[in-house]
Amino acid sequence: MNILAAVGVDNPPLDWHALAPELVLVGLLAVLLLVDAFGGERSRWAMPSLTGIGLLAALIPVATLAYDGVVRSMFDGAYVVDNYALLFKALFLIAGYVVVLLSTNYIAEGDYWEGEYYQLLVASLLGMTVMASARDLISVFLALELLSIPAYMLAAWRKRDLGSEEAGMKYYLMGVFASAILLYGMSLLYGMTGSTLLVDIAGAIEGTEVPALVALAVVLVVVGFAFKVSAVPFHTWAPDTYQGAPTPVTAFLAVGSKAAGFVALMTVVLIAFPTQPRIFEPLIWALAAVTMIVGNLIALRQTNLVRMLAYSGVAQAGYILAPLAVAGVSGASAAMAVEAVSTYLVIYAAMNLGAFAVVIAVARKTGSAEIDSYGGLFSYSPVLAVCMSVFLFSLAGIPPLAGWYGKLTIFLALIEPGTLAGYILAVIVGLASVIALFYYARVAKVMFVDPAPDGDTTPIRVPMSLAAALTITVAVTLVVGVLPQVLARVTGAETFLSIGG
């Protein structure tokens, strides 16, 4: 007889189909571990291919679940698989696949451990896919730690390199401090509402009279996530970590980790706190405004491209935060905010991964990420220069590249509620985009106009995997820009994320 049944505990019913993407990732992790442990030196070359195939295999159940179209809910609603979760699972898996493509040559050519690198990458991706489905404080916390702890180790990957060491240490300290603050907020939230389910929390804190402790808890939770998404003033780790970490890891952190942070923030704020806009709206409003302005202004004076992309990433985090600042006005504005944030995250992933792919390709020749070293790129590697310009102008929001559509959805979401706060934020988004154009265009000018710094104009040989990564990211950036309805069909649907509960 089952011992759990004897003490009166029933096994919760498991929906294996809904868990299939995560199970494939767990299986992949086990396979990688075994191949690394018993395959010996000769199996090393197989690690990236195995990882890539495994990540694509995990996409199959995501596709069948999307085709099925049923909202699956497990553990009293703590783990939900709906279109919102599926979109982000697909985003994380594809972004992970692109990161594997970026890493293949970079990691194989360094003298550091390959097997562990891919295991940690898959473990972190597993945390992200869980995060997309988490609808409970405990599962949000577990997903956050599962995606963060391997990421700390990845950032410190080149452990004898002082830059990588510094990157790992700063990321670790800030990340752990942030999750500790987040947890303190969660513990208060649990105590004041008696539940860890986001839906139940929303029910318990309804009404105008809420205890001050609830307000404190909401603030601590939002601040904890603000660290994760590198919003100003909690962004100080981001530039150092991005610059010091191995570049494929930087791409992974800038896209995967940040998107997962936003997914968590959006889920918690819109499902648990929609009845308390007075508490979270001003806070997110201020964070968004300061993040956009400060991120863009500091990016202006960067001379290192990775560092510039880090500050541009901070500024982009501000754009993504902005719709959440007006999400509490009405149900319609919340739906618009979800659409804007989801759309922008998908587009942001494509253009940012692409930009880092070019950085990795160029660094193979020049060994540097200084903006000056990009001089004359167009004359000796025109394809790379054009790709980089596509990504940079997309980040700046120039039509017909995907970035403009992302900005458009954000503008629409900000204007929809018709409040003064929304209009002011929309103006700040506009101004910040104009500032941003300067530093993106400066890189383009160096690539197209300036001569090569050392007169060396041998073309850059781009390995197959990097070329594949560039093709995927350029394709997404162009297709979403020209045919935005492809993405809007998914994110704009009314059943996308059921809010309010």
Binding site: L137, I138, F141, L142, E145, I149, Y152, M153, A156, K159, R160, L162, G163, E165, E166, A167, G168, M169, K170, Y172, L173, V176, F177, S179, A180, I181, L183, Y184, M186, S187, L188, Y190, G191, G194, S195, T196, P239, D240, Q243, G244, Q302, T303, N304, R307
Partner: protein
């Protein structure tokens, strides 16, 4: 049950922890301060769980204990790496990336 005392204890631990993280320069002391915050959270959760007669709080605390062990494991590895590279665990000395 006297819930307030537990919450006060947790709040004091939380504040000591935050103060420690912000002011200590020794890597191991910073890790200890983070542990203090996490334990403040555990006290909160268990006190609330007992007060509400709800097992969720205790389950949450168990998860935090397990995750905190993993986190500190990685943290100590990073501090060890720092020591091997520089013969010091002063985290303020790690500042070559700027801008």
């Amino acid at each position: 049950m006297l819930l307030n005392q537990f919450l006060l204890l947790a709040a004091v631990l939380f504040c000591i922890g935050v103060y420690g993280v912000l002011t200590r320069r020794n890597g191991v002391m910073v890790l200890m301060s983070i542990e203090l915050i996490l334990n403040a959270v555990n006290i909160n959760l268990i006190a609330f769980g007992t007060y509400l007669s709800d097992a969720t709080g205790q389950a949450f605390a168990l998860f935090i204990i397990a995750v905190a062990a993993a986190e500190v494991g990685v943290g100590l590895a990073i501090v060890l790496m720092l020591f091997r590279n520089r013969r010091s665990i002063d985290i303020d000395a790690v500042d070559q990336l700027k801008g």
